[in-house]
Amino acid sequence: MKHVLFLAWQYLKYHRVKTVFLLFAISLTFFIPMALNQLSQKGSEKLRARAVSTPLLLGNKGSATELCLGSLYFREPNIEPIPYSSLEDLRQQGLARAIPLQLEYRVKQQPIVGTTQDYFSFRKLSFEQGRPMAILGECVLGAKAAQALNAEVGSSVISTPAGAFDVAGSFPLKMKVVGILNPNQTPDDTAVFTDVKTTWVISGKAHGHQDIGVGTADSLLLSKSESGVVASPAVLSYTEITPENIGSFHFHGNPENYPITSVIVLPGDKKSELMLRGRYQQDQGLQMVVPEAIVDELVDTVVSVRDLLLLAAISIGLATLLITAMVFLLSIQLRKAEIATMKQIGAAPGAVRGILITEILLVIGIGFLLALMLVWTIDRLGIPLLENYL
């Protein structure tokens, strides 16, 4: 056997250009369907893992998929917010813990997640440095967000206005970084976490400004009456919340109507879950969804597309294998004289066939190994890229 292997290897080594072309073709034949399968499988697993760990989501009636993708993966939600009172109503029912999510704003490319400290324990997020946000204007960064924003505990990050000319839109608030999370390879790594009230400051629904009480210059006031005063735009608004000015921050209007994107609902037990789902089924403005079911639907779609692509890749692969077989057959035709010589010299029965088969198996085997190595590389590099995308 070692002599057959030796001769086959010598042939492939000598005809290295042909061998490399064949190896390339065969590697691709194996690699494309394997990589496709691997990527879709890992992607689906990642998608499902986060959905499975989130029992229920409450949000505005509309696209359940948008609600899930926004709330789980912090993709810019294309859904109407719900009033904060929805969260209070849910809590009052006593069937579940509720964690609000407000996902409207960004710091550069990083999503701002307005929530509560409960979110960290719910997602089992641990701190590499610092502590959770405690007062208005503080924030916690995911590991990748800290890297992207070049921020550390004690530094500050500024919320990005929705548009340069959106003077009535979101407020560029300077937030103090008080904690940085350990990486956990989920969308949490990319987020800037802050208290939900801080996101209302960003939206302009709450603000702080210089005192306009008694003794304020008339030039800073538009009107003055017994019930109150109306400040002019000349009054200085604070763009950073500090211990000195935090007392001046206040909310306008009824906070119950302030917006949140969605609520993560953690029912105490199965019965509570079923009761909540039943109650919200009839609701006109709200929907309660099971993220696992939504993501499963999404994964099914991905799998269907993958199956089609796999079918195409396998068809191309079969065609490539047929062409490769043709190359080998032609090569055998060209080597007729060599084969005849070996037989005339006295090659053992099957020896020549063995050499030819070994050549084919070596090319297919090495091609397969190369494909495995490429898939492994994709697994190491491609999956994190996919995670970033998700």
């Binding site: 002599h3 010598q10 080594k13 000598y14 005809h15 010589t341 010299i345 006295g346 053992a348």
Partner: protein
């Protein structure tokens, strides 16, 4: 002793046929097979080697009657006892000189490739003037050098019978003489028989005997040396 008796061979019904009532070649003798192109010289060599099977009659090499051997035994016997040299050298392009010489050892497990065999092959290469070229591939050798590699490949198993099909046809006179010298020297040293197909009238005088293949195409003749 090689003995061909009542041998009959033909290519198809209407093709050429060869009839040999008796042809004996003594051990250690050298025989030149002559005749015009297409007269069956190569066929005769192939019959002696067992590559072709006669329609009737027998080929006996030493104590062995080839027709009584199975295909496997015949291949084993051929690779161990006969050395074949061809006009076109028939070297494997993808093997270097040393590996071409050792090829029989890699084709049939009846021959065992040992360190001794390897050093023997290198000695042979040295003897024919290829000692410094054992790592070269055939495409980097001259015609004469290639035929010397083919000669070494035939001799490496120390065969008792050398069957050569016009081995000097593509060589210049100097290389031709060198190859013949090596063949005859081997024959004398090992008491090996040498059967060579040749067209070259200049070399016929070196052989113990000439066999004209046309004799077996026309009239019956019995010859023994």
């Amino acid at each position: 002793m090689i003995r061909l008796q009542d041998l009959s061979f033909s290519y198809g019904e209407a093709g050429f046929s060869l009839e040999i009532p008796l042809l004996e070649i003594r051990r250690g003798s050298s025989v030149a097979v002559v005749g015009p192109s297409g007269s069956g010289k190569t066929t005769l060599v192939h019959l002696i080697a067992g590559i072709l099977k006669p329609r009737a009659g027998s080929v006996q090499v030493g104590e062995v009657i080839l027709g009584q051997y199975s295909e496997r035994d015949l291949l084993d016997y051929r690779i161990a006892s006969m050395g074949l040299i061809f006009q076109e050298f028939k070297l494997l392009n993808y093997l270097n000189v040393l590996e071409n010489i050792l090829l029989p050892y890699r084709l049939n497990p009846i021959l065992e490739l040992t360190g001794e065999t390897r050093s023997g092959a290198m000695d042979l290469a040295d003897k024919v003037g290829l000692g410094d070229k054992i790592n070269r591939h055939p495409k980097n050798l001259s015609q004469g050098e290639r035929q010397r590699v083919a000669l070494c490949r035939a001799l490496v198993t120390s065969p008792a019978l050398l069957l050569c099909d016009e081995p000097t046809a593509n060589l210049d006179p100097a290389n031709r003489d060198r190859i013949l010298d090596l063949l005859f020297q081997y024959g004398q040293e090992k008491q090996a028989s040498l059967v060579m197909v040749t067209h070259d009238p200049e070399v016929l005088g070196r052989f113990d005997r000439q066999v004209d293949i046309r004799d077996y195409l026309s009239e019956l003749k019995t010859t023994a040396l």
